[in-house]
Symmetry: C2
């Protein structure tokens, strides 16, 4: 029962049926928010212990007083845990404050105003600086490059990573200085960059000697199934390919412990780490080491991180299942929409009929269901096909989520029917 196989009368009848459902939805006076990938209170409760740590014992394993100034690269024992997760030697890991986005920002700013170790000049002195943006992607990445006038060029993000034909072509342009990438459980599609694609990225011929991959491994350990997907070792692959400074790995505990009060990490080559610290040392004397100690004590080791993530999975996997179940039930028979079935991460990516995503989001909003704006997953907020919608299932309760996704499905069908009736 695809829309194309329906007669005009059948479409009209489907439209009227969905319009009825939509009016009921509006009458319900909902106020649901699926805009952002926020952990739910139940997830945050998993780490309640953090709220009373570290207690009176404020010294790290080496005896450093974490309360005082210093320690620019962060607490050794916490860096050790994340070095393992990030597959980077501990000396090449920096632990920061509560936002890996801030580390990406600062990397960009240092590159713009000072240049990287491989730059002939600061990026701000180039006529043009371009970033490759796999789409759909993370809106805050794109907002950051847009903020500083970096030109963004989209390439398709396939199931195994970015479209390498397009990437290779773009990288031949010396103005192309960088690339955004969420390698594991892409935001929003859940795509995982394969070993093969990672190796291609590492070996890629880039015209710019200072080409950088911002490898944002935000969901490195955020599995939704029994499969612990292993992220490709991009720093190792780059080194092996003779491009040691190409990749920078970012990670954070924002979706492990507390979204607003976690610790973030930067991992790369020795030279990049030294470069970053030299610049960072002008900005701050050091990170919040007490918070890092709190985290080191609470997490313990890598296995502690994985155990905590099992706790998250127990809370959020049923929410993802509910989303997929409702999408299948309501949209599966119509062949008008496709969606990701992610094995991890924080999102479901929904593609609706071309030209209707904005209308769907508008209908949702008018029924009290706030969705991420259509186009958000694209540079400049511009989804050329106006079809992609990002669903963030983690924050609402499962009952609210079911109501919201059922409402969303109604809006998808209604918008599709409207479009068919107009055409």
């Amino acid at each position: 029962m695809t829309f194309d196989s329906l007669s005009p009368d059948q479409i009209q009848s489907l439209h009227d049926e969905q319009l009825g459902a939509y009016r009921t939805l509006q009458d319900a006076g909902l106020k649901l928010d699926l805009t952002r990938g926020k952990p739910s209170p139940e997830q945050l409760d998993l780490s309640t212990e953090l709220l009373s740590l570290p207690g009176d014992d404020f010294k790290d394993a080496k005896g450093t007083d974490t309360r005082n100034y210093g320690g620019l690269n962060g607490l050794p024992e916490l860096r050790a845990i994340f070095a393992e997760i990030m597959q980077v030697p501990v000396d090449q890991v920096i632990a920061g404050d509560n936002a890996s986005l801030a580390m990406m920002h600062d990397t960009l700013v240092f590159s713009l105003l000072r240049g990287t170790p491989d730059s002939p000049r600061p990026w701000a002195e180039e006529d043009e600086v371009t970033f490759i943006c796999p789409v759909p992607g993370y809106d805050r990445h794109f907002a950051l490059t847009e903020q500083y006038g970096v030109k963004m060029v989209p390439v398709a993000l396939n199931d195994d990573g970015p479209d390498m034909v397009a990437v290779r072509e773009l990288a031949a342009d010396p103005s192309v200085k960088g690339m955004w990438l969420v390698p594991t459980y892409g935001n929003p599609s859940g795509a995982v960059v394969s070993e093969a694609v990672a190796a291609e990225l590492a070996a890629l011929e880039a015209a710019a000697p200072d080409f950088r991959i911002f490898w944002d491994n935000a969901y490195a350990v955020h599995h939704l199934t029994d499969e612990r997907t292993k992220t490709a070792d991009i720093v190792g692959l780059c080194a092996a390919s003779g491009n040691p400074n190409r990749a920078i790995v970012y990670a954070s505990t924002s979706k492990i412990t507390f979204a607003g009060s976690g610790v973030c990490f930067f991992g790369s080559s020795e030279e990049n780490v030294e470069w970053y610290l030299t610049n960072l040392g002008k900005r701050t004397i050091g990170p919040d080491k007490v918070n890092q100690l709190r985290h080191a004590r609470y997490l313990g080791d890598v296995e502690g991180v994985h155990q905590l993530m099992e706790g998250h999975r127990a809370i959020i996997a049923p929410k993802f299942e509910a989303v997929l179940e409702i999408l299948r039930d309501r949209l599966g028979s119509h062949d008008i929409a496709t969606w990701s079935e992610p094995k991890g991460g924080y999102f479901v990516s929904l593609d609706v009929p071309d030209g209707t995503a904005s209308r769907v989001v508008e209908l949702c909003r008018e029924a009290g269901i706030a969705m991420t704006p259509a186009g958000a997953s694209f540079p400049y907020g511009d989804d050329p096909r106006d079809r992609n919608i990002r669903i963030a299932p983690t924050f609402p309760s499962i009952e609210e989520l079911r109501t919201a996704i059922d409402g969303l499905a109604t809006c998808v069908l209604l918008a599709a029917a409207e479009q068919h009736l107009r055409s």
Copy 2:
């Protein structure tokens, strides 16, 4: 008994006497560090309670879950406390993470790459950007502007603030975009900017429409006597003078609670705050609100801050007294050195005979007493008279401090005698 009134023999005898004392000092195998303005462990112990806060109650006064994302401008109840200290309406105060230096860095970066609300273009697109640097001043300020190629021009910092004749002259140059200033208990001289000088700065005719005063009120409540010196209300004065966006006030709890794990603050006009938040919102989703809640609970209110500062004073005022006592005893009769007698802040500024500061610091180092490098209080590390030495008395124990300052006095006398013998 000034050096000039001594005969060559008397100088030689003084030299030999001090050399003897210096050799004894070297033999003691000291390892003392007076380089940085770090709180002592005893001072940090005053805030031990913070290490177990906030406990299970993680909601702020409005019921916001501080563990989650959001709240870009910071926790309202903590901002309220510091709004009072900074003399800025609470809506015009932003609470950040652990380093006000980072806020100054970001203000500079946003100005360079995006321009201020009053800038015809981003500062990075100007041929030259110049900052006025009252000296002696804070080395980390100068390192920050140097990092980004901002030209620094020193002006004298008098007891009531910067030399306004020099400032007025410089501000007539449109490349002069800003000025560093520690208004209360200057680092290192302890100078306090008077109401009159502050009013002049606010009303100053600046050729650059986007001239900014980076008003780093790091020691706003850090009194060493019963006198609670009140900082001039620079934001109010600027508004009254028709230059509402001129001044930005920075503050932090680094030397109130924990040096490495405090909270910093930005206060300015409504327009500057909006500008800063718009830019900041691309860098981060929000600050560490749990740490802000911890601080709000612990400090309680402004009176709580003042009480805590009395605790600090009880610990550090005797250290400052010890420094002054030894300098008076050892150097007072020789008329070769002058020093500040600060009513607050973290430093004593010592001026030794012109051309000997580097030698004094070298002698100290070779005797195991680490001092801040000579020249550090000047842009580019260049003290044209090579005479200023910054003493940071807070971190060492009082016994270590006495040993170090006595050793420093020996080095001052020895270097002065060496110089006289050479001339």
